[in-house]
């Protein structure tokens, strides 16, 4: 059994089933992200682990102990909120020490722990300040220290970076990951930002419509999406519907063009198969190692700085491709005829499991 085990969790609000048969095992010290669009049930799962919502069905255990029926203040679970939720009437040090005071920790010990926590978040001199005297990033650091001070078994982060500006968000997520690894605390992080989830998680749970569509390491989630939804939601993906010609060799017809994937397909001959391509796997012109070459026409060119995203029409459909910006190589003009190349191994064959696919 995993350290934090969530099994067959169900939750409905009125007639709306928000979480459906959700199962997840999290190992001790693991950093898991629940990733999904608004309304997918990720926050509800987190709130059920925190004890703020009572599941209709299912069980949650931490270290073998069933906590499903426990009140939130009996669970020893720390939580960081999107809106910081620092107590405005207390100083930073008092905020961090709140949980320790509630737990009846001796004053000297609590003061030492508060000092330790403030040093951990890099704000050792701001203990006497009030929350309103801090920036958003500082407030969220204090909220993290406050959640960690009572040494919780599990740390829950409910979109803690959403209210911060882009630069702070990137630096703080790195800090959160460093602190989590240093303390080895089991963490669930809720976000709708795929970049955040991909960059700091050990594993990601992609959620849609109350179910876990796919659970896996960021590399697997990005490169081997199992469902159409995951493929669409994580990263940018061009999808092409083809017809299977020879399942054994992976021969597929895309419009008037035939391509060979070089690996067997589970679909029958004549059936439709959905292929997906990341923009970075499609190359403008003939690239070495890319055996599939398709004639194409430039539809749109978006200059994004270091990267140029180009939209082309090829094989009867539209594809996106990324190319690095080079000062000596201006982007091709819109409407120009060109060629694109891709490696068969880079083509993702989306499985038959398409729940909630769109």
């Amino acid at each position: 059994m995993a350290f934090l085990d969530i099994s067959h969790l169900e939750k409905a609000f009125g007639t709306m089933r928000v979480v459906k048969d959700f199962n997840l095992g999290i190992e001790k010290g693991e950093f898991i992200s629940l990733l999904g669009p608004s309304g997918c049930g990720k926050t509800t799962v987190l709130r059920m682990v925190a004890g703020f919502e009572r599941p209709d069905m299912g069980a949650i255990t931490i270290d073998g102990k069933d906590i499903t029926g426990l009140k939130s203040n009996q669970r020893n679970v720390g939580m960081v909120f999107q809106s910081y939720a620092l107590f405005p009437n207390l100083t930073v040090a008092e905020n961090v020490g709140f949980g320790l005071k509630v737990a009846g920790v001796a004053r000297d010990e609590a003061a030492e722990r508060v000092r330790e926590m403030l040093a951990l978040i890099g704000l050792p001199d701001l203990g006497a300040r009030y929350p309103f005297q801090l920036s958003g990033g500082q407030q969220q650091r204090v909220a993290l220290a406050r959640a960690l001070a009572p040494r919780p078994q599990v740390l829950l982060l409910d979109e803690p970076l959403s209210a911060l500006d882009a630069k702070i968000r990137v630096s703080l997520r790195t800090e959160i990951r460093e602190i989590q690894q240093r303390l080895g605390i089991t963490t669930i992080f809720v976000t709708h930002d795929q970049e955040e989830a991909l960059s700091i998680s050990d594993r990601i749970v992609v959620m849609n419509g109350g179910i876990a569509e796919q659970v896996g390491a960021p590399f697997d989630i990005y490169n081997r999406p199992e469902t159409r939804f995951v493929a669409n939601f994580v990263g940018t993906l061009s999808m092409l519907d083809g017809t299977v010609m020879q399942p054994d060799t992976g021969q597929v017809r895309l419009g008037d063009t035939g391509i060979t994937l070089g690996r067997p397909l589970t679909q029958k001959s004549g059936s439709t198969v959905t292929l997906a391509l990341r923009p970075e796997t499609v190359h403008l012109g003939r690239a070495p190692g890319c055996e599939i070459i398709l004639p194409a026409r430039i539809l749109e060119v978006h200059f994004l700085g270091s990267v140029i995203r180009i939209r082309v029409e090829a094989a009867g459909t539209q594809l996106s491709l990324d190319t690095f910006n080079r000062a000596d190589m201006p982007p091709p003009p819109v409407g120009a005829a060109t060629e694109i190349s891709l490696a068969p191994g880079d083509i993702i064959v989306l499985g038959d499991r398409l729940p909630g696919g769109d």
Partner: protein, 260 residues
């Protein structure tokens, strides 16, 4: 030209309110024939009944405030947190004392809690004091509830509660250490309004036959010339002091000094 009219309107308003006050204050100083003196004030303050009734009303006000805070803060907190659909009803109920005359309320009390009832509160002085305190709480309810509810609106009650819960706090700790301190300014506004209401209240205290300040003011007004004016000035002073204290408390509340 518009500015002139504005200043004119302001001047008219100030005179409208201040002239009667000035007249009353001036009259209260004329007890000694031919010169201004504080004789009326001395007479009022040295009156043993003044001291007794004022002390009684102050104690009643403090008890009413304590009871009101204990009743209203958890109620308003709970309604906002768990039963927001109940808010219009609670607001309606708290407004009732403004439309039901206090004489009706006190007659209701006397009928319900007289010596031959199932709970004979009027049978003893302590019981009657408790009944009067309940009455004062009802009278102050519209002000206390609104003040606290407005205070709660300024903080994120749900998230702060959940944050405290995740840190192991129970309901009493949450209300005492998180909610109450953050709405203290609002609670104090309600408390000072309650104080002002209790100090000047006549009907309930008179009909329940309690030695309160309101009936004393009425008695003095009916029998003396200068002392009632002095007493009215003192009462105004107390009310204004309460308002000043509300301002001071909100201004010197440390955690929101800069936030405002």
């Amino acid at each position: 030209m518009t500015k002139l009219w504005s200043w004119g309107a302001l001047l008219f308003g100030v005179l409208f309110f201040l002239m009667p006050l000035y007249g009353m204050t001036e009259f209260s100083l004329k007890m000694r024939r031919g010169e201004y003196s504080l004789d009326a004030y001395t007479a009022v303050i040295n009156n043993p009944q003044f001291q007794a009734t004022f002390s009684y009303s102050v104690i009643m006000a403090l008890v009413t405030i304590a009871f009101g805070v204990l009743l209203v803060v958890p109620t308003a907190f709970w309604v906002r947190l768990k039963m927001p659909w109940l808010r219009p009803w609670v607001e309606f109920i708290t407004l009732l004392p403004l439309v039901i005359p206090s004489i009706v309320v006190v007659f209701g009390y006397i009928r319900l809690y007289n010596t031959s009832s199932w709970l004979p509160l009027t049978g003893t002085a302590l019981g009657t004091n408790i009944l009067l305190m309940f009455g004062y709480t009802v009278l102050a309810l519209p002000y206390m509830y609104r003040a606290v509810d407005t205070g709660l609106r300024t903080i994120d009650v749900a998230t702060l509660t959940e944050a405290a819960q995740s840190l192991g706090a129970g309901w009493v700790t949450i209300i005492a250490r998180v909610i109450l301190p953050n709405v203290l300014g609002a609670v104090l506004s309600g408390a000072f309004l309650t104080f002002a209401i209790v100090i000047g209240e006549f009907t309930m205290a008179a009909l329940l036959d309690r030695p309160a300040f309101g009936p004393f003011m009425q008695l003095l007004g009916a029998n003396r010339a200068y002392e009632p004016a002095a007493l009215a000035v003192i009462a105004f002073g107390i009310t204004w002091a309460c308002m000043g204290l509300i301002q001071l408390v909100t201004r010197f509340s440390k955690h929101n000094r800069l936030a405002r």
